[in-house]
Symmetry: C2
Subunit: 510 residues, 2 copies
Amino acid sequence: MSLLQKAWKLIRLRKDRERVVVLGSGWAGYTVARELDAKKYQAVVVSPRSYFAFTPLLASTSVGTLEFRTALEPIRTRRTNVSFFQGWADGVDFKNRKITIEEAVDDPTSSLALTHDRHAHQTQEQRQEERKLEAKKGRLFDLSYDKLIVTVGCYSQTFGTPGVKEHALFLKDVGDARKIRNRLLACFEAAALPTTTDEMRRQLLTFAVVGGGPTGIEFSAELHDIITEDLARVYPELVPFHKITVYDVAPKVLPMFDEKLGKYAMETFKREGIDIKTSHHVEGLRPGAPGIQPGESDEHSVFTLKIKEEGEIGVGMVVWSTGLMQNPFVADALNGVNGTPKTLEYTGAALQEAENGPDSISWKVKKDQKTGSIMTDSRLRIKLTGDNDNNPDAILKDVFALGDCAIVEGTSYPATAQVASQKASWLAKRLNKNDMEKGGFKFKNLGVMAYVGNWNALFQGGEGSNISGRLAWIIWRGAYLTKSVSWRNKILIPMYWMINWIFGRDISRF
Amino acid sequence: MSLLQKAWKLIRLRKDRERVVVLGSGWAGYTVARELDAKKYQAVVVSPRSYFAFTPLLASTSVGTLEFRTALEPIRTRRTNVSFFQGWADGVDFKNRKITIEEAVDDPTSSLALTHDRHAHQTQEQRQEERKLEAKKGRLFDLSYDKLIVTVGCYSQTFGTPGVKEHALFLKDVGDARKIRNRLLACFEAAALPTTTDEMRRQLLTFAVVGGGPTGIEFSAELHDIITEDLARVYPELVPFHKITVYDVAPKVLPMFDEKLGKYAMETFKREGIDIKTSHHVEGLRPGAPGIQPGESDEHSVFTLKIKEEGEIGVGMVVWSTGLMQNPFVADALNGVNGTPKTLEYTGAALQEAENGPDSISWKVKKDQKTGSIMTDSRLRIKLTGDNDNNPDAILKDVFALGDCAIVEGTSYPATAQVASQKASWLAKRLNKNDMEKGGFKFKNLGVMAYVGNWNALFQGGEGSNISGRLAWIIWRGAYLTKSVSWRNKILIPMYWMINWIFGRDISRF
């Protein structure tokens, strides 16, 4: 196909539709891209992942209750009309309405939790040099947009705790779940070797979960389930050596649940033998057993977790599920605004400034002071702020931000999948109907859920109804089955639940 | 548990059963270990893999027709009574009846085709030093046996072709299948980038399969299926760029099938647009496009395949499915015999030698001169040969060898799963009934099958019946479903066949 033909084809595909570029493929980005009316908009997703990960099921996949792919939906499908480029957003030009993309087809961090800026090791000058080279190689390219939707999400925050980035496992993406499953089974296999001492066995089978939010609690519960239901049958002699402990700096876990449900969770965990240690502080993680210097120790052996209140503990695996770090793209690329975009709408003080000509103001993206999140108005449009004494505000009418990287100014909705997907559906509907001015986004709390192990769960409805135990577990499973996206997964998920209940979870490791 | 308690436990577990150590977990090892009577024998499998791979389904998993785990069975299960240590056999002491094991819990080659001796980079002295260190760390340990069954299989042979070990993909284990699936999808994703030129697109989507045996043919057929059935729908603009070519040095492919079936396969492939190039010789494989020196080129870009008859071709992926190399364990560890084992039975010339006392002879394991395979008698017991002029023969009555690493002296059974599993079942039965002398092993050819794409297959029955097309495909699917081991997989396999037929194969890449 010649270049001319190709240009023709893009025009033909695009017809007279507006191009909506969506950065990110998480709850917000995937939802809005799918729900946009393909007759009106050409949706183009740009993301380093070729799939959407159904995050609430990742804990289940990390122990094999579900197969990994049941928590994934590919962005490209037969049935939807969404275009896709696998890449990182690398820069935005609001004035000329185009973004720069760094392709990520072979990105080594693909499918893993992100813990640091991938260009952090470079100076700004080095990065600029690299960008030129990448552009020459075709690895960096521009894409124009009519509307831009920023849903790049957050990175995992390790609070600078030494060794955590390098040696802890996370639970943000499917590659993380895969690493956890492999490591868990490797710990049992290593403990089963005849030369492993009982002390080493105990350390290999000590699992620490850092963070007492729903993810940490659900993972601990699933871990307890696979150990007692499956591993106990194939490694009966090893099960007495295992220990699961949840650490949290806060004085209580599951803060989003009311006291009664929190207490139920604590009691369930106690019965299951899972320790919850609140007001505990992780100070570091390093390879090797306590008391042994790195280098002396065995390669596949244990890690030493340092807890302020307890000292050093030998552990087989640390799963880190706490803390959000602002996305470097939001911190760096979405900062200063070059020139004044035509689609700016002035509000408040800015209205007066407009008389002087908007070009007199140097604009930047307005952010939350504490979290660094992008501030939007109630229509999810990003806000700019001017640098002069009047602190003028403005709204960029063609750029939206939602998901964990953004907050609606004046609200404090939590950084959850529920908020992200509600915002996404709201935005798609407004864009499809072209009635943005009708009214702002309002979050409707549909309740929170958490699995606590042994077929028990917590459910706290939006209107305050509290359910715990087996019934909550049925609601939990029913809700995730209903919410899972494709028919394929709606069939596979209950299939795996049933098969693993009958035959046990698969423990092949590869 | 104290050391004494542990010793007690092993004795208690063992009761008065003989310990049968099985080296390897392929078709031969997995089958014999499962079929041994747990009342009579304590079966202990030693293998670097914690699972058995149902190899005929690997090609299906490599394109997502089946999920990876449907081709795996964990060695440890709830239902069987097989012990397992994850490790490499590192040495055998026939006289004292013990083997040395190098643990392999975190082995980086785990689940991948083996192409070279993992200690090849070391001199014998270096390896001896390392062994001492490993023994000290508990990573090398001895295990005694009453009976030993050697089923270590073969490695993949690359015939020293430059770059093949490093850059080709194989199809011997589930990790290989996973790499192929990821690479295939990455090629399409890279080709979809707007900056990829049409020339680069054509190279990225050129797939070369080396080897026209059943594995190479079935993989090509499955690859053709996913491209035309699934990728054509999500990347419609890219499909015209793709090309699949099968290369073989021999003048024809599928030599085990009779002419009519071979012709049917060739015609089917022709209709599907797959090229078969017989009498072609691969001379090398390197990263980078033809005409571009390595280093200049892009990281994730294409490879250059050099064919004697065609010159250099740019390809996105080379799948190598030809050639068996003798296992280094067989070549090195199973060679000279230290001292004279008590369980030696002399045959032929050795009978006379025995009068002089067996210790006068220096024994070594008898091997096939051409392939280096272990020679066994018709009872699958390994043969030793003496070093003096009479070339005395002897049989080691408590050591068996089967699978791809062994042949029955005087036969030429092919190195197939069928031969391996028949030998394994025969041996388990003889050991269970303790009637080894009843009669030797005889192979019963149950026929050969190959999938050729588009719901067509070949089936050549043991008694010469030939079937091709849709009916053969039904036989093909039926046979593998029947032979798949666990109920879990017997349910999951048809489930995935159905779901992928209805919804298409999953193209998420992680």
